[in-house]
Assembly symmetry: C2
Homo-oligomer: 639 residues x 2
């Protein structure tokens, strides 16, 4: 068997190895102007060069007085103070004239005439006078070494007479992308080409952490070329990142190169995604080879490279912002691997209990799911998954306050949902609508578990011909539920342009020459397909491709569009997006389902109002295949 060795280091151990190996690796330092210093890290402690104020100063707009002159003043015995002699006008910040020792606020002074003030209250000595060093004191340590400078630090530094300071230079990082199949981002790709976007993603994160990053041109899978570039680059940076460099496949030369040229620290960590990370030390420089799958590269960048960027600036990386969350379904996980699972989070109605985590798609190349995620759930290596009710930490990708405001909809996919979701954001509403598209049945299951606020479903009851209601009776017995009509929409066949195989009905699919692609189990569209087959008396075994599943309308249409299938069932709007022919077969109702108690929720009210808006209805209609007369209409069911 072709086997390449991968370590199985625990995460913590792997980070310790990096910290230990590079503990003395530091970026050089430089002297910069304070007003350019935000986000930079101090290389030395910084002391105040002067006190502020360094004279006794008025803390108010008013008059400076001698406290003893005011001793007898009261509203019944107002006292007159002679301007220039007993009282001197001062503004906030002005020095207190010699011999004066208190300030009276302008609001408490009556200017009798040009020469005299009247006061009605005595004031104590030092009243409204700022002490020397009230704000900053000469010689005091303002900032320690290893401090990342914030906006308000600037204020204290400048006030303390510090106008320049020694900081770490931005750590120099070079990224080398490698891979025969990779091309720079562009509009047109040839078959087999993939866009190289990991470098842009990794680079942006490194810049955020304080690094200065150069990305080299993509290098083909050629050992000599890669070796040359690695050796050259390692001389010009403190940290070298090789992209798609950590696999152990046929053309992955990075390991061999580093084995020959450098000291390999580890190759393989007990985490998923991100397992095959490779690290090495080359002439005291750090080398990290990241996996090619984007989610793996992203995670390893956050877990390992981030530590190094901080270390280079004399800091320890902050702990991630974690929150203990609960799961309401079984989530599998391999024992011996710490798994990082993208999740949405939802808060219960009173916000007291832990947030509930709802897993998104797991693949290490599922970019949409990282964009959609609220957090990354961590399942530790000594656990064989989580059971309903289990708790685990999750690294937050958004603020908790924001997450708590959001609405989560889990269910069937419809293009109008994207439109509505965008509209809510665009109008600056105080919440966001988040979508997980998993199919109608999985949507109802999630809603029943308390994993979502809303389900989206278009489930045909083959007995009654009605949509959703009979399913709700099964799922939500004895509950009071609400249905909001989203749209009524056309379902039909996606066909290749010009319909080369002349498909005109369900029964044509029996033709062995025709490849169908189905939707996943539990999808409303699959339920509909089964109903249509039954009506025609066709058995599923007669359909070539009945078991090949796609997960969304657009993916099904795309499968037809790319030629891997001749037909698929789905909604018209997706045909328009992908550019395939569409043969209309039937109409169906798509509803949003929620507990009736949630109808008072301002977010739901907002949503219903939006669905009833003429302008929105027009926009949905324009997507193709939609009837919107009933959109936003409401049914309440006691089940």
């Amino acid at each position: 068997m072709v086997k390449r060795y991968l370590d199985k280091l625990p995460l913590k151990k792997a980070i310790e190895i990096l910290e230990e190996e590079f503990k003395d690796l530091r970026a050089e330092t430089e002297i910069i102007a304070v007003d350019q210093a935000v986000g930079r890290v101090t290389a030395q402690g910084i002391k105040a060069n002067r006190s502020a104020p360094d004279f006794y100063a008025s803390a108010m707009d008013g008059i400076a007085v001698k406290a003893k002159d005011t001793a007898d003043a009261s509203s019944r015995n107002p006292i007159i103070l002679k301007k220039g002699v007993q009282a001197v006008p001062v503004d906030t910040g002005n020095p207190i004239p010699e011999g004066f020792n208190a300030v009276i606020k302008i609001e408490e002074v009556n200017e009798v005439d040009v020469d005299n003030y009247q006061i009605e209250k005595s004031v104590p000595v030092w009243n409204h006078i700022r002490s020397i060093g009230e704000s900053v004191v000469k010689g005091n340590l303002i900032l320690t070494a290893g401090h990342k400078i914030r906006d308000f630090d600037l204020g204290a530094l400048l006030e303390a007479g510090v106008t320049e300071l020694e900081v770490y230079k931005k750590p120099k990082v070079i990224i080398i992308p490698t891979g025969d199949e990779l091309v720079r981002p562009s509009k047109e790709l040839k078959k087999g080409e993939l866009v190289e976007f990991n470098s842009a993603m990794v680079k942006s994160a490194l810049i955020k952490w304080g690094a200065e990053v150069k990305v080299r041109d993509i290098i083909k899978d050629n050992k000599e070329l890669i070796k040359k570039e690695v050796k050259k680059a390692s001389k010009e940076c403190q940290l070298l990142i090789i992209l798609s460099g950590s696999s152990a496949g046929r053309k992955d030369f990075t390991r061999d190169i580093l084995k020959a040229e450098a000291k390999i620290l580890f190759h393989g960590v007990n985490i998923m995604p991100g397992k095959p990370i490779l690290t090495a030390k080359l002439d005291d420089k750090a080398v990290v080879a990241l996996p090619g799958y984007p989610i793996s590269a992203l995670l390893d960048n956050y877990l390992f490279v981030r530590e190094l960027i901080y270390l280079l600036q004399g800091q320890k990386a902050d702990q991630f912002d974690q929150e203990v969350v609960e799961v309401k379904r079984k989530i599998s996980s391999d024992i011996g691997l710490e798994e990082f699972i993208r999740v949405n989070l939802i808060a219960d109605s009173n916000g007291q209990k832990p947030l509930t985590a709802v897993p998104l798609k797991r693949g290490s190349s599922a970019m949409e799911s990282i964009i959609k995620a609220d957090a990354i759930l961590r399942i530790s290596e000594n656990k064989e998954g989580l059971a309903p009710g289990d708790k685990a930490p999750a690294v937050l990708l958004k603020s908790k306050a924001k997450i708590k405001k959001d609405l989560l909809l889990i269910g069937s996919h419809d293009l109008s949902l994207d439109l509505i979701r965008n509209e809510i954001a665009k109008r600056g509403a105080d919440f966001r609508l988040k979508l997980q598209t998993v199919g109608s049945m999985a949507g109802l299951t999630a809603l029943r578990r308390g994993e979502s606020h809303l389900a989206g479903a278009h489930l045909l009851d083959s007995e009654s011909g009605e949509y959703n209601i009979s399913y709700l009776k099964r799922f939500f017995k004895n509950k009071k539920m609400a249905l909001i009509n989203l749209v009524n929409r056309e379902q039909g066949f996606y066909l290749k342009k010009g319909n080369p195989k002349n498909i005109s009905s369900i029964s044509d699919l029996k033709n062995k020459d025709i490849n169908f692609v189905n939707r996943q189990r539990g999808a409303g569209t699959r339920v509909l397909f089964d109903y249509l087959l039954k009506e025609e008396g066709i058995d599923s075994t007669q359909i070539n491709g009945y078991n090949k599943e796609e997960f969304t309308h657009i993916a099904a249409a795309a499968a037809v569009g790319r030629g891997s299938a001749d037909a698929a069932l789905g909604i018209r709007a997706a045909a328009e997006v992908i550019g395939v022919d569409f043969l209309s077969l039937t109409k169906e109702s798509y509803d949003l389902i929620l507990e009736a108690a949630m109808l008072d929720d301002p977010r739901i009210e907002y949503l219903i109002k939006l669905l009833r808006e003429k302008e929105i209805k027009e926009q949905i209609k324009a997507l193709g295949g939609y009837e919107v007369n009933a959109s936003g209409s409401l049914k309440i069911l006691e089940l």
Copy 2:
């Protein structure tokens, strides 16, 4: 009485007024390259231009096969697959050749010879094959409008064929600093001049929130000049900030100018600091006049200007990261004012209870206290302060994880503490030492309340001549406490250079011509002074300036240095910092005090080890006036 009107708007109401008034104020939009877009905000929803992958692709390095060819394979019945016919080598990401429908991982394949592979396991159809759209699906909404782009968003955008996108331009902000007394940061200040640093502080925060900021030259308090600049600047920006523009004093013209030229929205909000903020609308542009005091300006910038910067980019500002914390002392607060109080936070030993908030200095011009703060405690306007045990929200300025790691020392001031604090940071320890310098007695009180981990004290018992122990007996009855010697140090008089008043002993202070400045009640140095007076049989009423208090050694030395006092008692090191003469009078012991149970804490172990280090002792000694033989020595007391 000279009175200027100030509104007393609740904070929430004030923000609502701004949101309502400027709800349609938006920065223009522009099209930019995706790889430049991190931190920018989308002006439109963004859909995927293509699916990725848009062909069936191998998910592994291995061989593409026809699943049915593998059906009978097992370890007892290995099957040979002919290269090129039944098996084609593929790398991760390669397209699956026509007619093939599964991939076997390279690790599970045995290359028998150049023409044949052997396998020992069957594989299902579609094994290790990535579906079309597995990562992103053409036509799906990737990002909504109003989304601030993160590093990993770039990845999804580029993969989806989006190479440029429409974002809001950076909102244009102009800052106009005003004030006769203000000068640009520089090393030398004339008496009465203040450094203008608010603009640098405000600017940096605005840039962080996404704005493009120009700072104008400082304008003198001249109505015509300010008016001219305001009118000119308002044409060149969307948001105009006038610094030191919101007071209602003698020379504060901003209100008059805005009253004449613009629509004033509000002047004065029920908050402290930050009360006198002034906002206006000038030709649809937003104008905000911030108070001159830096903490007030800083707070108003975060509370109000931040909202506007987000609004200009089609977003709502995130809620602040708040945490409910507990207080262990009475904290006063005016009813009718929402107060924002800088605090340190400490965690209890098991980390389960709410964090405890310990207030720092409150003045609206105390920059050191904002630098030191972990959070800003909010006391709502309907509360008359907080009592011990009360809870209130606090806006975190650091990550909670970091705060929980820190050690907090409250007590007397000593210069070696800054040195140690910096050393801990510089060495990259996993914790930071935080200081609140409040005097010895207040330090012990804080420790007893559970507000700190350590107290720092040098309290002389006038009976026994011993330091600290008799006080501990009073403060920590029946407890087991530990004392760590920090230093032994010289105490003496700070005197003007050359000692012009010929002060050579305590009794010289009785001379009416001599102005003394004392330390605050509860300070160890004041206890020492009282002891020295008693020894000489001098009554405090005989001392001119006995009641004038400074709060640190350096502030006391500075008062002498600036000429406002002739003598003060304090430690030698501060004399060296400020550059005044020093007359040594006595030696004293400064100890760190903690519960003995904390001696196992790795942070305390670290601290003791550091204090015992030769190199550190040398550094402390070099500060002047220190004996370090006992530094780091330990006493445990059962009280």
